[in-house]
Each structure stands twice: as structure tokens, then as C-alpha cells.
Symmetry: C2
Subunit: 347 residues, 2 copies
């Protein structure tokens, strides 16, 4: 399988605040080896797509501060394959800029947008799904999103509801649903109408450029042409600015053992647990009366913990975090407060 | 004030397990500077007694493994002033051996037994109390224990109940009470009959030797003579073997701002607290919804903690402990378990 017109953009610009203190501004999660596997998340992602997309056609979208890190972690990637943001402006400007750059290189490209923090268990199923999606998108004017058949009521993911309209296996979207409450997630899993939003998008380059020109016409002139002007771009998410507004979005139903390493809570959900639902990542621990926690300590450090339930205990370098595992928004606040008080020392 | 017959034995043989992981087998609490004051607890104790007892008459009872450490921390102390246990056998054999050694040096000695882990706030009051107690004991056949007027219902201390019998200010003991439940401690503080057991004892050397020969006659031959045989001594506490059995025990009521650094719980009780009763010892922390905790981190390390109540969070070197602050017995179990599993690596 190989097709000169198939391209991949790995999105690796995140600052990884949701995984503080394990990830830091200088080393966000995509550049970390979360599971002690010997490979960082971005390396795992690159290797996965390299089996489907020609290496020269794999681009990396990231912030300029991470340029050297990416080139070091992915030695096969040339500097010309980096699409660098001057400033963090969320995903919409980054995808607009990447699309413009790829269109310049190949006006008949079909592109897959790949988050750099996914886990995939069934690689064969994944490869077949990507190939099928790209073949569909290459000769269609649809914006495709891969929907993952949910296996449990995860509240840390976004969901997609499908409609009756279809083109082959591909189903027209009814609506996007942001991270739902537990009781809704349970209903979604029961029904056959809902899928997890993987954040993996596929389209022909003309389709996405048309969408940007229609829905974010202010951003286009800022990323097209000689030098992009990120500082004047709005800070907007691609999902809300384009995908939720467009009327040509289709879902590709997939089922290849997927997880998004989006928050500590989702990480806890997908990793193996002890009999008390504790997840211990690569750490020496002795737990007494502990339930449903996630624990991650530096190498060689022992954590003895008594009577915690539903907590996160994460230490790395000069910082220790002990907080409610499922309070997703709290960590952002903590990191902001830490920066206010200590500057960059711990962030 | 000075008297050639007045002697002091500083008890510094403890292994400090109750303060794990801050204290370790190789460095028990008496050899640590708990409050960042620049002085370890044993140095503070030595300096305190040096103002009352001639330096040549201050002996240190400790385990042989701590010999070099003591000589380094207390450079004025000569090797001949060390009374070394070959093996840890609790306080009864240690005090018996120390008493025998001092009797050999001065058969008319009056001795004060001084724990190495006390805090004293009113040094003048303390000095006067020691002097008064030693003068009383020097010409009496009583075993004296300093009783501290309780200021709050501490459940981590032993209490002493006094009887009506008295000799001057010194009151005959009615009974020793081990660490009481909260409701009892509250009654004790209200009444005027109860004192904290300071663990500071005073007696003429003949009085204590007589007590040992009467109540622990098996131990005497093992510590008297050329070379003591600690391995065949029973592992027994001086309080239960002698003080609780003797019928000549008197209490010296004292009130000089005293605290025993016996457990994390008592340390929390005596140290300054924030508005939510958190004690933070010399650490960078950011606390959210935290109440009644004790936190101690290594220098330069930040702890961000959310929604903990009544916990201990202590990290030192290669170990982190998170446990219920007031579960006094749990830490011993943890340390035993850690040794069973990891050997000496963390203990």
C-alpha cells in the first residue's frame, strides 16, 4: 500500500498542561515515553503512520520551540517536513497553515490529521481503516472524522452521533457532543448511534481549503503567503470552528482498539488496574486501603500510600501533585497558580 | 550552679521508625535538624543540659552504630562518655547499663535521664526545675519523674496521675496511663491530677541500682562487669519494667513549655498551623481544600495538594509517605513491610 497523494500531518503542538507535573512546558506529553516502552508518544505515532504513508509525505505540526526536539526524536524527518507555529493558537490556525503548505506541495493531496497522543492496539485494523478512509476522501468532497465504537462510558472523550444518511459505510454526522456526564455516556454506549471522536480527520486538500475559506476567512490570509502571522490569528479550536459548523462531515465507524491519552483520568481508564482499581505506572509503591488511584513516581523512588481513593499521585523532577483524579479542570488551575507564584521554575 | 555529683544521660539509641521516611535507620530523628534551626535534636538537648550539668558528667547512651555520628555532632563529648549498646534492646537494659557505668565512676552520683527528642520553650524554667529535682533526688530514695502540666488534650503522650501523698512539691504517683483516647485526655486536662509523662527521670544512683536489682535481677549481671551482653537481655521498656512497678515513684510537677517529638501527630500538635490547621515544615506547597495535614518535602521540591484532610505527606530522599496523620501504629507496619520487601534500600 502506498499512494504518492496521501499525506499525514501529526499534530504535536500541545503544551501538555493536563499532565503536569509529569509533562512540562519544555517537555509536553507527546515527547514523553509514558509507559516505559522505550518510545515517546510522537515516535509511536510516527512509526504507526509510516506503515501507510510515504515517509516524505509525513509532516509534523508543532511549535517552533519544539523544533529541535522533534528533529532529534524523529531523525528521518527533514526540516522541510516541519510546519512550525510561531505562537500557540490552538488547532484551527495550525491546521489551516498545514493545509496551505501541503496544497502548495501537492494540490491533489489527501490528508490525514493525526493527534500525537493516541494509543492503538490493533495495528492491522488501524491501517486498513486509514487506507479505506483516505481512498474514500480522495474522491469525495466530505470532511471525514474517524469515530471509534465506544467500549465503556468514558467521560473524558467527546462523542459523535451519526444520522441515517450514509455513503457506503460512511455515515453523515448528526452532532458532536463534548465530554458527557456519566449517565449520558452510559446511554451513548448502549445505543449504536454514538462514537468516540478520535480527533483523526481525513479529507482531500481542496475540501478542507474550501471549508477554511468559507468558515474562517479571516485566518486564511494570515497563514497563506510568505510568512504566517500567528500572533494575529484567533485562538480557536478546529473542532468548534470548522467541524461543528460544516454540513459535509461524515463519520467513518472504526473499531481498532483506540485510546486518547488526553488526561490522567482517561489514562487511568485505559491502563491495567490492580484488584482495587489502582493504576501504578512503572513505580515502586506499597498501597494500603487505596482504591481507584493513579500513581506515577520517578525511577527508584518508593511511595507508601494509605487510604486514598480516586486520587492522582504523580511526581516528577522538582514537583509532586496529589489531587482528585477526575477533576479534569483543576490541574490547569494548579499549573496557572504555580506559574503565577513561582514563574517558570516548576512549569 | 554546678555540682560534681550531678550527672546526665542523654538517651539517643532510638531507631526513629516513627518518623520514616524523614528519619532512617542510618539517621534517626535525634540526629536530624527537624525545624531547619541549624541544630539536630541531640545537639539541642546537649546544649540545654550543658547549662546545668558539668560537660564531663554528660553521658550519651546510644547504639554502637551511631558512635561516630554522635562524636561528630557533639565534638566536646569524649569517647569515654559514650555508653554504647551492642544491640537494640529498648530502654530498660540501656538505662541499667548506663547506671552501672556511672556508679563505677561516682558512687554518689545523682542522675537525670534525658530523652534526646524533647522541645523546651522556657529554658530558665527548665533549668530551675532540673536543679530542684536533682537536689531533691540527691538526698532521697525516690525515683523522680518530671510531670508536665498539660495544656491541651494530647493523645500521643503518656499521662501520670498523682496522689495526695507528697514530699514538699513532689507528689507520689498514683498511676501511669498510656496514650489515652481523646475523651479521656480532655478529662485529664480539666482535672489537676494529671500530668504528661516527660520521660525525664531523676534519682540517686543507689536508688535506681536498688530498683534494678529488685525488679530486673536477670538484667543486672548482663550489664555489670567487663563486657555487657545485650544480646541476652530482654527487650523491655524501662517504663513498664521499673517505673510502673516501683512503689517509690514521685512526680515533680513542671510547667516549662515542653513537647516530645514522639510522632508526626505530636509534631503537628506543637507546630504553628495555617488557618486550616495545616503544618508545613520548611517546604514549598500549594494547598487546595486541605485541612489538618502535616507536609514536609525536600528542599526545592514543590507539592501541589488538593482535598486531603488529616494526612501526612512526607518525602525524603528515595521515599514518599502519604498516610493518616493520627494512625500512630501504621507507620511501624509500613516500615516493616518496606524492609520485608525491599531490604535496607528504603529503611
Amino acid at each position: 500500500m502506498s499512494n504518492n497523494n496521501f499525506y499525514c500531518v501529526i499534530m504535536a503542538g500541545g503544551t501538555g498542561r493536563r499532565f503536569w507535573p509529569y509533562s512540562r512546558k519544555a517537555l509536553p506529553k507527546q515527547f514523553l515515553d509514558f509507559f516505559g516502552s522505550g518510545q515517546t508518544l510522537i515516535q509511536q505515532t510516527y512509526e504507526r503512520y509510516k506503515q501507510i504513508i510515504l515517509p516524505d509525505n509525513i509532516y509534523i505540526s508543532t511549535h517552533k520551540d519544539y523544533k529541535d526536539l522533534v528533529l532529534e526524536l524523529l531523525p528521518e524527518v527533514k526540516e522541510s517536513q516541519l510546519i512550525l507555529e510561531e505562537e500557540h493558537r490552538n488547532t484551527a490556525p495550525a491546521i489551516a497553515y498545514a493545509s496551505y503548505m501541503i496544497q502548495k506541495v501537492n494540490p491533489d493531496a489527501t490528508v490525514i490529521i493525526a493527534p500525537s497522543d493516541n494509543m492503538v492496539l490493533n495495528l492491522e485494523g488501524f491501517k486498513q481503516a486509514v487506507w479505506r478512509g483516505m481512498e474514500f476522501a480522495s474522491c469525495s468532497d466530505k470532511l471525514l472524522v474517524m469515530g471509534i465504537k465506544p467500549t465503556y462510558p468514558e467521560t473524558g472523550y467527546g462523542y459523535i452521533q451519526i444520522s441515517e444518511d450514509s455513503e457506503g459505510d460512511f455515515r453523515k454526522i448528526k452532532t458532536f457532543i463534548e465530554k458527557p456526564a456519566k449517565e449520558f455516556a452510559e446511554v451513548f454506549v448502549q445505543s449504536n448511534e454514538f462514537y468516540w471522536n478520535s480527533g483523526i480527520f481525513i479529507w482531500h486538500i481542496n475540501t478542507i481549503m474550501k471549508a477554511f475559506h468559507e468558515m474562517m476567512s479571516d485566518v486564511c490570509p494570515r497563514v497563506e503567503g510568505g510568512r504566517p502571522d500567528f500572533s494575529s490569528c484567533p485562538n480557536s479550536s478546529f473542532d468548534t470552528s470548522i467541524m461543528e459548523k460544516a454540513d459535509n462531515v461524515y463519520v467513518q465507524p472504526c473499531d481498532f482498539g483506540w485510546a486518547d491519552i488526553g488526561t490522567w483520568g482517561t489514562l487511568h481508564d485505559v491502563l491495567p488496574k490492580d484488584e482495587n482499581r489502582n493504576v501504578v505506572i512503572d513505580s515502586n509503591t506499597m498501597l494500603y486501603g487505596c482504591k481507584n488511584n493513579l500513581i506515577m513516581m520517578p525511577e527508584g523512588k518508593l511511595a507508601v500510600i494509605q487510604d486514598l481513593e480516586g486520587y492522582l499521585v504523580v511526581e516528577k523532577d522538582n514537583a509532586l501533585l496529589i489531587c482528585k483524579k477526575d477533576d479534569q479542570t483543576a490541574i490547569r488551575k494548579f499549573v496557572n497558580d504555580v506559574e503565577m507564584r513561582f514563574g517558570e521554575k516548576y512549569s
